[in-house]
């Protein structure tokens, strides 16, 4: 069982997302430690990209802020290396494929292992294209986090579930990232379908921001992923956002456990 999957053992995880380098690299370091301290079970770290096609306006702006710092993947690896021994929760990168291809797949995943990143989420790598990186992620023991969506057919869900590692990231609704007032997708129906074929946990993301939503959805899932609501706090409080995102995280953790 992978380090990521093991983290879900006997509990439901709250999984926050932040964009690395927003507003700067040193703040990201503090944010990671604060999120861990506040009870985050796993942390998703977004590698900034010029054209984040799957993101809504809030995370697009975070990418833009981070991009102004000209952060390289190597800067990110070094930052993570510097806190490697303080990090107890699993980390996963959320990244578009091009910066990874550009860095070189083999080296990128080698560095991931060295700095303690255990998984990769790529919004532009559907199941059909996993072979693009799979040899390298297998070699370096990195989980490719499979994304499932309300539009995935049962046939696809079966195939994706059987091949899944780490956790399955179930996209709660159509569209891009960002808060939604109401989530109408029948999450339970999709998670039950997935559970027919795998023990790999299912975490739900996209649109979730309130403890009520988290409590409700976590009944049918193993984890709750929140990005935009946290990034919004970082947008509002900048380098001083750590206590704000920590308080938010504690609330969310309490709601789902």
């Amino acid at each position: 069982m992978s380090k990521i999957q093991a983290a879900f053992k006997n509990k439901k995880l709250f999984i926050p997302y932040i964009t690395v380098g927003d507003p700067d690299l040193n703040s990201t370091k503090n944010f990671i430690l604060a999120l861990q301290e506040a009870g985050a079970g796993l942390i998703e770290l977004g590698i900034p990209f010029s054209d984040p096609v799957a993101e809504g306006p809030v995370i697009q702006r975070a990418n833009e802020r981070a991009m102004t710092n000209n952060i390289t993947p190597e800067d990110i690896f070094k930052m993570l290396e510097s806190i490697k021994h303080e990090i107890k929760v699993p980390l996963a990168f959320l990244t578009y494929l091009n910066p990874v291809l550009n860095y070189g797949y083999d080296n990128f995943f080698k560095r991931c292992t060295e700095v303690g990143v255990a998984g990769i989420i790529t919004p532009d790598l559907p199941f059909e294209e996993h072979s693009e990186i799979k040899n390298f992620t297998d070699k370096h023991n990195i989980d490719i986090i499979t994304l499932a969506s309300p539009t995935s057919s049962n046939e696809r869900l079966e195939k994706m579930a059987k091949a899944a590692r780490g956790y399955i990231y179930l996209v709660s609704s159509m569209g891009v990232t960002g808060e939604r007032n109401v989530i109408t997708t029948d999450i339970k129906a999709i998670t039950s379908e997935i559970k027919k074929y795998t023990d790999v946990p299912v975490a739900v993301g996209f649109g979730i921001s309130t403890p009520e939503q988290a409590r409700d959805i976590s009944k049918a899932a193993n984890g709750i992923i929140v990005g935009s609501a946290i990034v919004k706090l970082i947008e509002a409080h900048g380098t001083k956002a750590a206590p704000h995102i920590a308080a938010y995280t504690q609330n969310m953790v309490n709601a789902i456990t």
Binding site: F49, D51, V53, N98, N102, T151, S152, K159, V171
Partner: protein, 401 residues
């Protein structure tokens, strides 16, 4: 019926192509792939499409012998494939009529599209009006300013225009925003992608609909001259008019295929859109291909005087034609394009789109060196009315539109 998802290697052109999109969009792509596989062999569909192309868009387009230009250059015979004479003024209508008809057969009621110069947006709005479909166009804010006439044209045709304010506010951001919109709403909506790019099956669908250009041109030149051209020249942004002009000549090994990329202020500056000349292998907008990018794999802002070529990538089939050395790609600067724009207007009384002027510029460069019995076909992909104001401005003249 579903394709085998364990053996995904569909939609590849050599190492390029593929389907690098979100899981949500895979549903729409699968649906499109299956519908297209059915309708491309369907007699009724093809009959209706021919009817639209011939009686609405005005096909076949002329293969015009540019006598004055040929005499002045003193070398190869120059022929112009007059896509500028199509309804809506460019080759874009070929693809749009095909996709809009396909969307209608699929039961879609709404079309969305990206546009750079506005030509594809105008064509999509036109087809939507004709076929009774709703239409929304995404256009970079910067391009809305550069091409305000086309913005109004689209409104007149009943389309809603969404100016895109993210990123560099140009074509690549318009594509991103249209993809985001499609992810939100796929049930009733078809994304009419305007070029031979993006995830499979778009590069194939758009190429098939545009290949009518070379289907006609090949026949026309054989009828006229009894032989094939020495070369075919077309401008390349994403590459739809170029692939259309090349496609039926690909197996004619003696026909040189030349794509003209926008070199903007020069390929030694960082103000260009010369993807083959300066780009590297990458994955973006659903495809693996060549892209202009920085040393960290961030997509580079493109620059060209032509909003239609202002894209930092190139379609995957072109990337493969380059890899296999079947086609060559050359950079043409803003200044060279402007000179060609003026030249064609003065010599032939034809004002080309500034995009097409890139191809004309290369013909002007190579025709004099070629034997007189050789033939060059230039794809004149669009007309230049839309560019008159911005060319005047480029030369320091301000005119009221």
């Amino acid at each position: 019926m579903s394709k085998n998802i364990e053996n995904p290697v569909t939609g590849r052109f050599g190492q390029h192509g593929g389907q690098y999109v979100s899981e949500t969009l895979m549903y729409a792509l699968d649906e499109l792939e299956q519908a297209y596989a059915y309708y491309k062999k369907d007699k009724t569909f093809n009959g209706e499409l021919s009817e639209l192309l011939n009686n609405y868009a005005g096909r076949p387009s002329n293969l015009y012998f540019a006598k004055n230009m040929t005499e002045h250059l003193g070398g190869a015979k120059v022929y112009l494939k007059r896509e500028d004479l199509n309804h809506t003024g460019s080759h874009k209508i070929n693809n749009v009529l095909g996709q809009a008809l396909l969307a209608k057969k699929m039961g879609k009621t709404r079309l969305i599209a990206e546009t750079g110069a506005g030509q594809h947006g105008v064509a999509t709005a036109t087809a939507a009006a004709l076929l009774g479909l709703e239409c929304e166009v995404f256009m970079g804010e910067e391009d809305c300013l550069r091409q305000s006439l086309n913005v109004y044209r689209m409104k007149l045709l009943g389309a809603t225009i969404n100016p895109v304010t993210s990123g560099t506010k140009t074509l690549k951001d318009a594509v991103s925003e249209t993809m985001r919109e499609w992810t939100k709403r796929i049930k009733d909506t078809h994304y009419v992608l305007g070029s031979v790019m993006g995830p499979y099956p778009f590069p194939e669908i758009v190429r098939d609909f545009q290949s009518v250009i070379s289907l006609e041109a090949r026949q026309q030149v054989l009828e006229r001259e009894g032989k094939l051209p020495a070369c075919v020249i077309a401008c390349v942004g994403g590459g739809s008019n170029a692939i259309g002009a090349f496609y039926n000549f690909i197996n004619d090994k003696n026909v040189t295929l030349i794509g003209c990329e926008a070199a903007g202020k020069g390929v030694d500056t960082n103000m260009h859109a010369a993807t083959i000349t300066k780009g590297r292998l990458g994955i973006f907008h659903g495809m693996k291909s060549y892209f202009c990018q920085d040393e960290n794999g961030q997509i580079a802002p493109a620059h060209s005087i032509s909003a239609g070529l202002d894209y930092p990538g190139i379609g995957p089939e072109h990337a493969n034609l380059f890899d296999t050395a079947r086609a060559q790609y050359v950079p043409v600067t803003d200044n060279e394009a402007i000179a060609a724009f003026d030249y064609l207007a003065a010599k032939e009384g034809i004002i080309p789109a500034i995009e097409s002027a890139h191809a004309i510029a290369h013909a002007i460069k190579i025709a004099p060196e070629m034997p007189k019995n050789d033939i060059i076909i230039v794809c004149l992909s669009g007309r230049g009315d839309k560019d008159v104001a911005s060319v005047a401005k480029y030369k320091g003249e301000n005119i009221y539109e």
